[in-house]
């Protein structure tokens, strides 16, 4: 049996189609990522699966239960972390955990023990009596995850769980997710951080309400075998961008960290031409190497491929 099954789900808000006939299935214990820009329909999909929104049409099952007709049973088996931090800031760490263990109906005899386990897992035992307001962002995220896990749900929905959290805290957070998956929990996570997508076992790339590609991260990257990527760092990045956008051997320019990623067909030939073009403008190149495609490169390539097919 699948942990999550989505079949032809559509969600319209008036004229706007937020989710446009998507279908996918998630295995038990899998970390399944929904990746895409803002407005792609990731959050709407998660909210439908959590029983917070009713789909306009189509069917979705979570742990074998229909999200519309069996919403209450579904809610007992899932944990949900919404995009915005949404615990109570004027309550202490402990009080928040207690609240959610009450709302999820954790049996009285298990409650104390579960609360302690959750605080331990989130590394917040020492801060249990602190007001949530006073916690740093990364800790709040761990607490939110803890609250979503207090009733030991087999399935977790995380909607951009690490937005606004510093890189080290993000790293720690993902370590926790990986451990949860290893312990057999299914995790459906949305993100727009491309580097996080690499933690997922499988990824669905979403764009304007549709799933445009679905595969393991490495397989998605391999599908771009016919192209190569160059990483460029130079003395004048903006000027380089302008020059390279007119350069015929470069298919696509994207900002990436302190430099730009260039998508090319023939890396050796392109390299020469780029060096010449930038040199002519008096720009010094500090780095120009062939690199493995980032998830962002993959994403852009897939979406552009989709657009070409539409035309």
């Amino acid at each position: 049996m699948w942990a999550i099954e989505v079949e032809d789900v559509v969600k319209r808000f008036g004229e706007f189609v937020a989710v446009d006939r998507i279908s996918f299935r998630v295995r038990r214990g899998e970390i399944f990522g929904l990746l895409g820009p803002n407005g792609a329909g990731k959050s709407t999909t998660i909210r439908i699966l959590c029983g917070l929104l009713a789909p306009t049409s189509g069917r979705a099952r979570v742990d074998g239960l229909d999200v519309v007709t069996q919403a209450e049973q579904v809610k007992r088996r899932i944990g949900y972390m919404s995009q915005r931090f949404s615990l109570y800031e004027d309550l202490t760490v402990e009080e928040n955990v207690e609240l959610f263990s009450g709302l999820y109906g954790v049996p009285r005899e298990r409650r104390r023990q579960r609360q302690q386990e959750v605080l331990e897992m989130a590394g917040l035992t020492a801060w249990r009596r602190r007001l949530v307001r006073a916690l740093p962002g990364g800790w709040k995220q761990r607490l939110a995850l803890g609250c979503a896990l207090v009733h030991e749900p087999p399935i977790l929905f995380l909607d951009e769980p690490t937005s606004g959290v510093d890189p080290i805290a993000r790293r720690q957070f993902w370590d926790m997710i990986v451990r949860l998956s290893e312990a057999g929990r299914t995790i459906l996570v949305t993100t727009h951080y491309m580097d996080e997508a690499a933690y997922c076992h499988r990824l669905a790339l979403m764009d304007r309400g549709r799933i445009v590609a679905l595969d393991a991260p490495a397989a998605l990257a391999r599908s771009l075998a016919s192209v190569a990527f160059l990483h460029l760092e130079s003395s004048d990045l903006w000027e380089s961008l302008k020059v390279l956008e007119r350069e015929a051997s470069v298919e696509r320019v994207t900002l990436f960290g302190a430099g730009v990623h260039l998508r090319v067909r023939d890396p050796e030939r392109a390299r020469e031409r780029i060096q010449r073009a930038l040199h002519a403008r008096g720009i010094t190149i500090s780095r120009l190497d062939v690199v493995a495609p980032s998830m962002e490169d993959v994403f852009v390539a897939v979406i552009e491929g989709g657009e070409r097919n539409e035309r």
Binding site: G51, G102, L103
Partner: protein, 377 residues
């Protein structure tokens, strides 16, 4: 519905209130401030009306008339003027509300058996007080003339003549006609309504604004449990407020409580449940705290104040407004409160009012729950 989830919600609300001392202070200070304001400042009793006298006659007859006013507890003769123009000046300065003008021929006409006239001037800018003062003055003058007629009759016939009708007035339930006795019980309804408007109308709107509502709704907690849990917490505060109001009213203002105090609390609880339900209903309909608060004041506090018969008599309102007052729960609760406080009646005489409050609470709670449910889809 499970008690565990409802209690988890209620506990959380208690914690919110405890962590926000300002709102707790407000919830406890509001009844005390209102009681002091209304108990002391709002007095509808009119007595010691300041008056001026212009006596152009200066005769024993005119002095006799003036002495009548001076001897009454309703009037306070603050001065005699030589110049009638001063009356206007003094009235403009609000030094007097009433002026008595006795013309120069008053005693001459009186003694000749002709019709003597006097003039009363009233400051009508406060029409309510002016009409009450006029009533007192007319009664006083009627008595003055009547007793004179009796004495004339007695002198002429030589026999003791008694007035044909002897009116003996007994006022029941509020024998001193103290307005405080009828304002303070009504005030309990107003206080409970303010608490409901202040606290309950904000509660769900705050959850929507903070984004915490979505987290709540992702758990198995049901809308009815959310609504009930929140109401429980505010209910406790409301009951506390009611106890404060009862104590201050009975101990401090010496308002008689002739009925069963437990019955007062029970009825208060019933009213409070409906009032809180209304607050939560508004909160379920509106997602912004500012709007919810304004709607709360507009739809719960103002009608309770203006349309409940608390101060303004419902009988004097235009028929359309009177019809509206039937939908204001405070109207029924105030009848119950006055019945319990002043008359000491039992529930058996208040069945209609109690039935309305029960129906109101049930309908409003059901609507609040349903509205919260509808917001999800």
């Amino acid at each position: 519905m499970t008690w565990r989830r409802t209690w988890a919600m209620a506990r959380k609300e208690f914690l919110h209130i405890r962590r926000d001392p300002r709102s707790l202070l407000l919830a406890l200070a509001v009844p005390i401030v209102l009681l002091l304001l209304f108990g002391y400042a709002l007095r509808l009793d009119v007595d010691r009306i300041p008056m001026l006298v212009f006596d152009a006659d200066g005769s024993p007859q005119s002095r006799n008339l003036i002495a009548r006013f001076a001897g009454s507890r309703f009037f306070d003769v603050v001065g005699m003027v030589e110049d009638p123009a001063r009356i206007r000046r003094e009235m403009d300065r609000q030094r007097c509300l009433l002026a008595l003008v006795i013309p120069p021929d008053y005693s001459r006409r009186w003694l000749r058996g002709e019709r003597a006239s006097i003039q009363l001037i009233l400051d009508g800018s406060d029409s309510n007080t002016a009409s009450i003062a006029l009533g007192y003055a007319e009664a006083l003058l009627r008595e003055h003339v009547g007793s004179w007629q009796m004495s004339v009759l007695r002198r002429a016939t030589g026999v003791m003549v008694n007035p044909p009708v002897d009116v003996r007035v007994r006022v029941w339930y509020n024998s001193e006609l103290r307005s405080r006795n009828y304002i303070v019980p009504g005030l309990i309804a107003i206080i409970l309504m303010i608490i409901a408007a202040l606290l309950a109308s904000l509660t769900l709107a705050r959850e929507w604004e903070m984004g915490t509502m979505e987290q709540l709704l992702s758990t198995p907690v049901r809308p009815s449990e959310i609504v009930l849990g929140k109401m429980l917490a505010f209910f406790a505060i409301g009951l506390l407020d009611m106890l404060i109001a009862l104590l201050v009213g009975v101990v401090f203002f010496r308002v008689p409580l002739r009925g069963d105090p437990l019955l007062v609390l029970l009825m208060g609880g019933l009213f409070l449940f409906g009032a809180l339900g209304w607050g939560v209903l508004i909160s379920a309909l509106v997602r912004s705290q500012v709007l919810a608060y304004q709607l709360g004041v507009l739809t719960s506090f103002l009608p309770a104040f203006l349309l409940s018969g608390f101060i303004f008599a419902i009988e004097n309102m235009p028929p359309v407004v009177q019809a509206v007052t039937y939908l204001v729960p405070a109207r029924y609760f105030i009848v119950i409160l006055r019945g319990l406080f002043l008359k000491g009646v039992g529930v058996e005489l208040l069945v209609g009012e109690v039935a309305f409050l029960i129906a109101y609470a049930a309908v409003v709670f059901g609507l609040a729950t349903r509205c919260l449910q509808r917001r999800l889809a």
